[in-house]
């Protein structure tokens, strides 16, 4: 449960709001490079943190991210010409470079000297880890890029998708760290009913998650605050004197990782506020040791797990609110809990069903919601500290992101962060 004030403090990210100022202390993913593929290509609209911006790649290959609306009469620069190292407004010909400087003002007499003195809003960008990132905060606080493992593997080891979600970013993060929903929302009916066939299948598989989720459906939660945010340990009883642990990271301001089993691909998300009612969901799958395998590509293509197909222009998922996520009631009766295909669409459907900004004063939380409580408290603490003049430590220390999620068996008397210390180190 949160108070109304706390809920608003966490979920409002316009530039004047405390959480908006907090997010503006970090580099945030804003574009796939393929959206601005070549020099002088078409500009694209980008809405992030409640700001309407325009991205373009100039003649020299630099990516600009500027106010969508011309500083002259506020016409949209989306209609503009991307030419000779700048974007020219087609209304009166004013032209802006990637730094936001007005480099040409052909309708004003040159003796007035407006040119080169006028600037529009422009944010620095970086191409890094298969994405274009932007920093939208004060220049004097520009942070380091986060040294996330997935950002440092070769392109062939990584796949990134982008989708539009009709909820506030926090609802999406809360889905990402709430591991207790996976036994229900993402379950097959066989798994939910624990049929003999399912038990047999699990017994013969190497999938530790399925095996130990079957043995213990009431996991215990542990959280630890770290330099990067939180590590969330979820513990289930295993054989003999051991526990099965699944460790998820929440990395400030809005990255998460799904527990990783050695030898398989790792998956993570970054949830970026588009505005207070919508967010961008960046989903990353990577293998630190090898190119993604054919089996991993098949999972991506078939949309069975964390990625979902989207409209290439709007990034709205093919399965979306307007078409009820292509819900199949027959499938729900016979195959899985939701009747919706794929984990990503299942998550999106249930999170969007809560409304754009869920009223957290009306929740009924329990101890299985510990990770959600911890994440909110950490973000509230960070946002309030910034309001008191303390800069976020994490933003200035890119090295702290050098971690990976884990799942493992440990003796019951071993603390999970001790037992998993080596596994949680990123290697790339």
């Amino acid at each position: 449960m949160l108070s109304r004030d706390e809920n608003e403090l966490l979920t409002q990210t316009d530039s004047a709001m405390p959480a908006g100022k907090y997010f503006r202390r970090f580099w945030l993913p804003v574009l796939l490079p393929s959206e601005v593929p070549t020099p002088d290509c078409s500009p694209v609209r980008v809405r992030v943190l409640g700001e309407d911006l325009l991205a373009f790649r100039d003649t020299n290959g630099r990516v600009g991210l500027i106010d969508e609306f011309c500083a002259h009469r506020r016409a949209s620069l989306f209609w503009g010409r991307n030419e000779e190292c700048g974007l020219r407004c087609v209304y009166h010909g004013w032209k802006f470079d990637v730094n936001g400087t007005c480099v040409d003002m052909p309708n004003e007499p040159s003796e007035y000297g407006f040119g080169n003195k006028l600037r529009t809003t422009a944010y620095p960008t970086r191409e890094y880890g298969g994405l274009i990132w932007a920093y939208m905060g004060p220049a004097e606080h520009q942070p380091e890029l986060p040294k996330l493992e997935w950002a440092r593997v070769p392109d062939s080891h990584r796949y990134i998708s982008k989708r539009f979600q009709e909820t506030n970013y926090l609802q999406a993060i809360e889905g990402g760290i709430d591991s207790s929903h996976s036994n229900f929302l993402h379950a097959s009916l066989d798994a939910f009913r624990v049929t003999d066939a399912y038990v047999e299948k699990v017994r013969n598989s190497n999938n530790l998650r399925a095996k130990y989720h079957l043995l213990d459906k009431a996991p215990r939660f542990t959280v630890k605050k770290t330099d990067y945010g939180l590590v969330i340990g979820v513990r289930r009883n295993a054989e003999d004197d051991r526990y099965y642990w699944r460790l998820t990271q929440f990395l400030l301001p809005s990255h998460t990782m799904i527990p990783y089993q050695k030898g398989l691909a790792i998956h993570g998300h970054c949830w970026v506020p588009r505005d207070d009612q919508t967010c961008w969901v960046w989903t990353i799958s990577w293998n630190p040791e090898a190119p993604l395998s054919e089996e991993e590509w098949k999972t991506i293509r078939d949309e069975t797990f964390v990625h979902a197909k989207v409209d290439p222009a709007t990034f709205r998922p093919v399965r979306n609110k307007a078409n009820q996520y292509l819900l199949d009631r027959e499938k729900q009766r016979t195959a899985n809990m939701t009747g919706i295909h794929g984990f990503a669409s299942q998550d999106q459907a249930i999170q969007e069903s809560m409304g754009p900004v869920v009223d957290r004063t009306r929740e009924r939380l329990g101890t299985s919601d510990t990770a959600i409580i911890a994440t909110r408290r950490l973000l509230l603490q960070e946002i309030r500290e910034l309001g008191e003049g303390r800069e976020p430590f994490t933003a200035g220390h890119g090295d702290v992101y050098w971690v990976r999620s884990a799942s493992l068996l440990l003796k019951r008397d071993v603390e999970f962060d001790e037992g998993a210390r080596e596994l949680m180190k990123a290697e790339v």
């Binding site: 449960m1 009924r364 329990g366 101890t367 510990t370 409580i373 408290r377």
Partner: protein, 114 residues
């Protein structure tokens, strides 16, 4: 006063201050709002100081608030309604004090219900 709307014991609690050492790094298993459960939470509140401890205490108080809310919704004719209503409000107050990093004050609020 012993409030236990579900007439259940607290047998699955991980930590019982009467029998074991209080460990604020463990989450108290909240299955009811009996005096035993409240005592256990109070003991843990008094031993809590770190970010993690306070998160666990908040989760426990959320759980007390939730199950007292269920009781109030489902037991309209119960003679315990007034008491449970007060505990429901007290759990919220204690929860908000924990959010303000005041676990000792939260413990004092709950002690009024023993």
């Amino acid at each position: 006063m012993a409030l236990n709307g579900h007439n259940r014991t607290t047998g699955r609690q991980e930590v019982n201050p009467g029998r074991q050492e209080v460990n604020p790094g463990h989450i108290v298993s909240v299955q009811d709002f009996s005096a035993d459960t409240l005592r256990n939470i109070i003991a843990h509140l008094k031993a809590s100081s770190s970010f993690e401890h306070l998160v666990y205490r908040e989760a426990e108080l959320d759980a007390i608030w939730t199950i007292t809310g269920f009781f109030l919704a489902n037991e309209p004719a119960s003679s315990m309604r007034d008491e449970v209503n007060r505990l429901h409000a007290g759990a919220q107050k204690a929860h908000d004090l924990v959010a303000e990093r005041l676990p000792g004050a939260a413990a004092t609020v709950l002690e009024a219900f023993l």
